[in-house]
Symmetry: C2
Subunit: 106 residues, 2 copies
């Protein structure tokens, strides 16, 4: 059985918005992803999704507020809530979501 190192994984993750699955537990996936720029507005009807920031700054835009995250901060987007991740500079994030989650939403 092996541990997973964020530094080692990120050293070989190419490109942005390209999540790599790095773990699975209880039907949930753990992913590392590099973000830069902005994604599109979307939602996940049946899945809550957690963004934990490891490096950089990430804004999670919601329809009525912006959540601004730095290293060591997380936010759980409840199922059904529209969101758009945005970051000017590169941001490194750990995601938790059910195996069924589609990146672009439903």
């Amino acid at each position: 059985m092996k541990k997973v190192s964020a530094a080692e994984q990120f050293a070989s993750i190419e490109g942005f918005w390209n999540p790599r699955q790095v773990g699975e537990l209880n039907g949930q996936l753990v992913k590392f992803v590099r973000l830069k720029g902005q994604f599109e507005w979307h939602k996940h009807t049946d899945e809550d999704e957690m963004f934990f920031v490891l490096e950089g700054r990430l804004t999670i835009r919601l329809r009525d507020e912006d959540i601004i995250l730095g290293p060591g901060e997380f936010f759980i987007i409840p199922r059904g809530v529209e969101h758009m991740p945005v970051c000017e500079d590169e941001c490194r994030v750990m995601l938790f979501e059910p195996a069924a989650t589609k990146q672009y939403g439903d």
Copy 2:
């Protein structure tokens, strides 16, 4: 809706081996815990458990090997596997586990 900051939470977590629930998603709990010293050998029959180290060094003893984790590293203990967390100096950890998980195992 609110973000969660590890630094803010840990500033008010008293004592060791005393996990605080800081989030819930898809029936899974996110917890922060301060560890120091050693816990007892135990296992969770039906739940996988993830230890993500935020600060310090943590050894997760298994019956046949030791997993040594530093900041930014995680390990998923598969259900049914006996383990004992150990750390000489304080270590700060984020845990992921199903809501049903009992701290001392089954």
